[in-house]
């Protein structure tokens, strides 16, 4: 029963995975472009961001059509409404990757000391986005909780980087403009982690029907 509806929900998952992959690509291209000084990658980020925007509209239309035609209730309603909320976060992730690429294009000077932090932040936040989408598709609550917890790692890197940059500004060895640009890039990475957490929270809602407070969640 409802084979067609189930097939359409499966297609919704496929499109979400595609959008998630585009987000990952935008993050890694922006960061590789910055760290390896590859301008061609930075230009690609803008295109990927446009694709993410288009994908958001496409998935939005799919969800509206499913709601109209299938009048979903219970878990189906939660799945579709969670998907609608998740794509808003994914669209913002695309914007933030694009913002990183924009700064990276004009940034001058280089301090390899920060590369480790920035690279780790980018890798962790991209992995969080991938895991958040996977937890939705697989209905894996434990994985969603892991994403929420992994945000601490990204936040930790951000704090380290912030302290380092404050020191650098104090020491007057590096241009304050560069330090502020690097801080903004780090902040965008940190926000990407937050969006991945938002996605994981919607996964939790789609599975359990509630948004639990942090204390009530099962420890991983």
């Amino acid at each position: 029963m409802r084979n067609r509806f189930d097939a359409e929900l499966a297609q919704l998952n496929v499109e979400l995975i595609k959008m998630g992959s585009l987000c990952e690509l935008a993050i890694t291209d922006a960061m590789s472009g910055l760290l390896e000084d590859k301008d061609e990658l930075l230009k690609l980020v803008k295109e990927t961001d446009n694709e993410i925007d288009e994908k958001e509209r496409e998935i939005e239309n799919m969800c509206f059509k499913l709601m109209l035609q299938q009048q979903p209730v219970a878990r189906d309603m939660r799945t579709i409404s969670a998907a609608l909320k998740m794509i808003t976060d994914m669209e913002r992730i695309g914007d933030q990757a694009s913002d990183i690429a924009e700064i990276a294009e004009y940034i001058e000077g280089d301090d390899s000391k920060h590369h480790t932090h920035l690279k780790s932040m980018a890798e962790s936040s991209a992995a969080m986005v991938r895991a958040a989408i996977k937890s939705f598709v697989d209905k894996d609550l434990d994985l969603a909780y892991k994403v929420m917890k992994d945000d601490d790692i990204v936040d930790g890197h951000f704090e380290e980087m912030r302290k380092d940059l404050i020191e650098l500004i104090r020491g007057e060895e590096t241009s304050p403009e560069l330090c502020v640009d690097l801080l903004m890039i780090a902040k965008y990475c940190e926000r990407i982690g937050d969006h991945a957490v938002n996605i994981a929270e919607w996964v939790e809602f789609s599975i359990t029907g509630v948004h639990l407070s942090e204390e009530l969640r099962d420890p991983i």
Partner: protein
């Protein structure tokens, strides 16, 4: 979970109903709050209409029907030997799936019940007819044609006339058995609006196959399957996070 309350209109305790050898209702326990709308949902043959009919003893008319357990209305067992069934059916009115106006004038349709209960005064009957038609949100449409045959009305108007006829004997409970399933969307919407208004004065229990209708207008929903109540809860809860997998499978259309 719906808490039991002293204000519950109906309390059903361990109700079993048999049609001959067929066990149609199995150990049903339910409490239906006063002045709220409760919907019964479930696949065909699950016992929801049967339970509805036990609430004003319409099943007494079915040969071979045997009932055990209790159905308490305002604390009194309606299956107790001393129960006045006519009075019960006056208190617990019923509207059916297909509108069934009597082949007489609109006025006489509504006045039929009060007349059988002994009201003869023309003035009093006129007052009852007007009030009932107003309560059924159809007075403005019919006030100039009260002497015309009820059979000339549209399906939606006939159904609201039947609701007016049920209200004319001043009931406390209104049972509705798929009362909008034969109506177009506009008439359905009018009846739904009406039911929402009526719950201020009446307790309403409805059987419906229309999930969206149960969601739109009921406060509580009971899901039936094979004669058993599988889940009974606040409608919002039951349709968003059902507790039982069978309920979830049924309301999402994957079973039943």
């Amino acid at each position: 979970m719906i808490e039991r309350n002293v204000m519950d209109k109906f309390t059903i305790n361990d109700l079993n109903l048999y049609y001959g050898d067929f066990h149609a209702l199995k150990s049903v326990n339910l409490h239906l709050p006063a002045k709220e709308i409760t919907a019964f949902i479930g696949p065909s043959g699950c016992g929801k209409s049967t339970l509805l009919k036990t609430l004003n003893r319409m099943n007494d008319l079915v040969e071979g029907c045997k009932i055990t357990g209790q159905v308490m209305l305002d604390g009194g067992d309606i299956y107790a030997p001393k129960t006045d069934v006519n009075l019960l059916r006056r208190n617990v009115g019923m509207v059916f799936q297909k509108p069934n106006p009597f082949p007489m004038s609109i006025f006489d349709n509504v006045a039929y019940g009060p007349r059988t209960h002994g009201i003869r005064s023309k003035l009093e009957l006129e007052e009852i007819v007007e009030k009932s038609l107003r309560d059924a949100a159809i007075w403005d449409e019919l006030k100039d044609r009260l002497k015309k045959s009820a059979l000339g009305l549209s399906g939606g108007q006939q159904q609201r006339l039947c609701i007016a006829r049920a209200l004319a004997v001043d009931p406390e409970v209104l049972l509705m058995d798929e009362a909008t399933s034969a109506l177009d969307p506009i008439s359905t919407s009018k009846i739904e609006d009406l039911v929402l208004e009526l719950k201020e004065k009446y307790t309403i229990i409805m059987v419906t196959h229309n999930m969206q209708q149960a969601l739109r207008i009921s406060d509580n929903t009971a899901f039936f399957l094979l004669g058993e109540v599988i889940e009974y809860d606040k409608t919002d809860k039951l349709f968003s996070v059902p507790s039982n997998k069978k309920t979830e499978d049924y309301i999402t259309g994957r079973f039943g």
